[in-house]
């Protein structure tokens, strides 16, 4: 699975953020999601989706080796994490998210829930399809 | 000619039909409006018509065996 994005289809609904936070923290809290939606309004009137592409920059800078790659996915070991946020600064996409209630930054682990529940096909599995032509439903 | 009328949304409350589908038999090709009339459905209650998934108006003549999906008026808010 690889996250593909078609931002032109994003409606800004935030369902992706809800299923993400519920899936990982069992909390209904989009601020604990591992992706971020930003609107560009009034012009040009589109949404941008920021989500991890598993580049590994975070793992390179972690001083305690808390970030490791497994099956193509970089994951944070929250027990090893010391909360220094070096990875947050190093992330080129700004997708290591900090929440005051969590020591370790929040990072996408490629669980695929956002792909499954994006109502618009704006987030899709790039390994399965090039780009979705029409939105779901 | 045989058509399947698929009734969707609030129209189902007005037009009782088994699982929302009605089979209509007609002796010759007819427009959607005529087919609706034959099925006892007031065409004014149907706002949008899809014939085999394509949006059509009520004057369109569907092919034999077509599925005609009828959406009631969007309620406008």
């Amino acid at each position: 699975m690889k996250i593909g994005l078609n931002e032109a289809l994003c409606s800004g609904c935030r369902v992706c953020q809800l299923v993400c936070s519920l899936g990982h923290f069992k909390e209904n809290n989009p601020k604990k999601a591992a992706l971020k939606i930003t609107g560009q309004f009034p012009a040009p009137g589109r949404f941008q989706i920021a989500v991890c592409n598993q580049c590994g920059s975070c793992a390179e800078v972690c001083p305690v080796g808390a970030i490791e790659k497994s099956n193509g996915v970089y994951k944070i070991d929250s027990d090893k994490c010391i909360g220094c946020h070096a990875c947050v600064e190093a992330c080129p996409l700004g997708v290591m998210f900090v929440h005051k209630d969590e020591k370790a930054p929040i990072k996408c682990d490629l669980c695929g829930e956002c792909i499954r529940y994006c109502p618009r096909g704006a987030i899709f599995d790039a390994d399965q399809a090039k780009e979705q032509e029409v939105s779901r439903g | 000619m045989q058509y399947t009328l698929q009734i969707v949304g609030h129209l189902r409350e007005i037009i009782p039909a088994a699982d929302g589908d009605i089979t209509v038999d007609r002796p010759a090709p007819e427009t959607v409006r005529q087919i609706l009339g034959a099925a006892g459905i007031n065409p004014d209650l149907v706002m949008t018509v899809l014939v085999d998934g394509e949006r059509r108006n009520k004057e369109y003549t569907p092919p034999d065996g077509a599925t005609i999906t009828c959406l009631s008026a969007l309620a406008g808010g």
């Binding site: 935030r14 923290f25 069992k26 209904n28 809290n29 309004f41 929440h99 | -």
Partner: protein, 616 residues
């Protein structure tokens, strides 16, 4: 409390202080949230007879137990206040992101009291409440101000603003949010303006507690999957509410030329299809919605180049048909002007059309409009009038009061075509050939608005000539639709794609633990219906059915052209509709809830006020 932010935030603008109290469990159980809680609090806390634009009015902002949770379309917040337009109960609900964000910050209800000494911002950042000067933003358009505030405070703040019209206390000023969503009706923007609040900024980082998280996840996902596979969802998303424009014209109920007639010859230029092909840029959703109805558009001509969310159906009806605008671009531009000025497009379109008809009839003279030749179908006339209104300049100062007051002052017979009920201008369905819809408008609790009961299909289904037997459907809808307004979710999935109602008590149960059936929820809706009616009756003092009557145009003038030509509902029909309705509602001949009915509903606290009104 599961499903809730947990707190009421009370803000005293006069002394720049705030206090929080826990949301009382009884209030939540008895009234659910949003409109329900707001209506009860407003009845309890507003002293009858106060000036809606004065110090003692309050604005209640309330989300519901579904808001911000994994539930399709869980983004609705209610703004409630004593309405400057009608002098009675006013509420308006709004989509976007605020309903969710305020719950993440921990608040189910925010109450604004008093008056700020100077133009102010209220900044709510979890439990930190700040008051700041709005000098930099005062006078700016509603969306320009939102953009500036997002840049100044942070993009993750959700911002609510008023435009210049709210600052100038225009009676139909709206509340704006998320670059294109509004709490449009009943003039709550003017109440904010009177309190000198330019904007409210909210940011929340918390989680909403859930009674059974695993079941919420499962049930929420089930609801989303049901939306994904609904065959009507694609059609709905393609056009949003604008999809209904051709149908309303075909059946001859489209507001045209100040509701003079009901079919607009140029309507084919204003359809959802034309809109999609010519101006739509993005399908824009409210929080949690899988079927975005927002059509964010880019409208260009040799006169303008603007971005606007819309036009949706109401704006297409009231600016398009009612002002006879010939192109979708012009309607979109009219929408943009109203949005930036912070004017309700429904009342705005109604007031402009009224002014244009007055001009045509010589009731408003050229000298009063800077020598201009004002015309239907002319975007420059529309622009001139809304700008004058928002600035309260010239004729704009009178028109800013709404059509009821404007007609009373202008005279010349204009009261016959001041299209309003109780001072709220009529929304997008002309009803002379739709008795159930006429009844819906007459009995709507905030004035001439269709939000509570959209009954026009019922008229088409059972007979448009029929007067008798229409009340039960109207009453049923008046309980179902506001149920969503109490839950803090959007009704349009049910309304537009037939999304089944049974899902709502089911998801409510696993979020809050409240074991309510659908009938229980509708009963609460009936209770709230009587509370909001009672609020208006108490304000009006001496109430009789004439306050429910439509304008004379509707009971005296047959529709002159189009598919519904010749039809209208005379006074006998109007009274027959109300007779049946009041009887079924358990209200007396003047539309005042009876003591027996109030007892039956457990609304004993309303009995003294309603007996007093009855005695007058």
């Amino acid at each position: 409390m599961n499903g809730y932010g947990g707190k009421i935030l009370r803000i005293d603008l006069s002394v720049k202080k705030s206090a929080t109290v826990p949301l009382p469990e009884d209030l939540a159980k008895d009234y659910l949230g949003a409109r329900g809680v707001a209506a009860r609090l407003l009845y309890d806390e507003i002293e009858p007879g106060i000036d809606p634009l004065g110090d003692k009015n309050k604005i209640i902002i309330a989300s519901g137990p579904l808001s911000g949770v994994l539930v399709p379309a869980s983004g609705k917040v209610t703004f409630a206040s004593k309405s400057p337009a009608t002098g009675g109960y006013g509420d308006s609900n709004m989509g976007g992101m605020v309903a969710a964000e305020m719950k993440y910050a921990g608040y189910d209800v925010i109450i604004l009291e008093g008056t700020a000494a100077e133009p102010s911002l209220v900044i709510i950042d979890d439990d930190k409440i700040e008051f700041a000067s709005a000098a930099k933003y005062w006078g700016k358009g509603a969306m320009i101000a939102e953009k500036m505030l997002k840049e100044d405070l942070g993009d993750d703040f959700q911002i609510v603003t008023i435009g210049p019209a709210g600052e100038k206390l225009v009676k139909f000023a709206c509340v704006s949010h998320d670059f294109g969503r509004q709490a449009g009706r009943t003039g709550i923007g003017a109440v904010l303006g009177a309190k000198r609040v330019k904007a409210i900024a909210i940011r929340g980082s918390g989680s909403i507690p859930l009674a059974d998280p695993d079941k919420v996840i499962a049930k929420g996902k089930e609801m989303y999957d049901a939306c994904f596979t609904n065959p009507a969802a694609k059609e709905w998303q393609d056009y949003g509410t604008a999809g209904v424009t051709p149908w309303v014209n075909e059946i001859g109920s489209f507001p045209t030329k100040n509701f003079w007639t009901t079919y607009f010859e140029k309507h084919q230029a204003l359809t959802g299809q034309v809109m999609r092909e010519s101006i739509v840029v993005t399908d824009k959703a409210c929080f949690g919605c899988p079927a975005p109805c927002g059509k964010y558009s880019h409208a260009q001509s040799d006169k303008y180049d603007v971005f606007v969310e819309g036009p949706e159906y109401e704006t297409t009806a009231l600016i398009g048909g009612n002002c006879e605008m010939p192109t979708i671009e012009d309607v979109a531009y009219g929408n943009y002007l109203c949005d930036e000025l912070g004017l309700d497009t429904i009342s705005g379109g109604g007031v402009v059309a009224f002014a244009l008809e007055c001009f045509e009839k010589g009731i408003i003279k050229k000298e009063e409009v800077d020598g201009r030749e004002l015309k239907f179908g002319d975007i420059d006339s529309f622009k001139y009038l809304v700008e004058k209104i928002a600035a309260r300049e010239g004729i704009g100062d009178l028109l800013a009061e709404g059509v009821r007051t404007a007609a009373a002052r202008l005279g010349g017979g204009s009261e016959r075509f001041a299209i309003h009920i109780k001072g709220l201008e009529w929304s997008g369905y002309e009803a002379r050939y739709a008795p159930a819809m006429m009844l819906a408008y007459m009995t709507c609790d905030v004035g001439a608005h269709h939000n509570r009961a959209w009954a026009i299909t019922h008229d088409v289904a059972v007979g448009r000539e029929e007067i008798a037997g229409k009340a039960p459907k109207v009453i049923e809808l008046q309980h179902i639709r506001p149920m969503f307004d109490m839950l803090g979710a959007c009704r349009l999935l049910w309304v537009e794609i037939g999304f089944p109602l049974h899902h709502y008590p089911e998801i409510l149960r696993v979020i809050t633990g409240y074991d309510y059936s659908l009938e229980d929820l509708l009963k609460i809706s009936e209770k709230v219906w009587n509370i909001t009616r009672a609020f208006t009756i108490r304000e009006y003092g001496r109430f009789d059915r004439k306050y429910d009557y439509p304008p004379a145009r509707f009971y005296e003038e047959p529709i002159p052209t189009g598919p519904s030509k010749g039809h209208y509902i005379d006074m006998d029909g109007i009274n027959a509709l109300l007779d049946e309705y009041y009887e079924l509602r358990g209200w007396d001949n003047n539309g005042i809830p009876t003591t027996a009915k109030l007892r039956e509903l457990g609304l004993d606290f309303l009995i003294p006020d309603m007996e007093a009104a009855r005695g007058k």
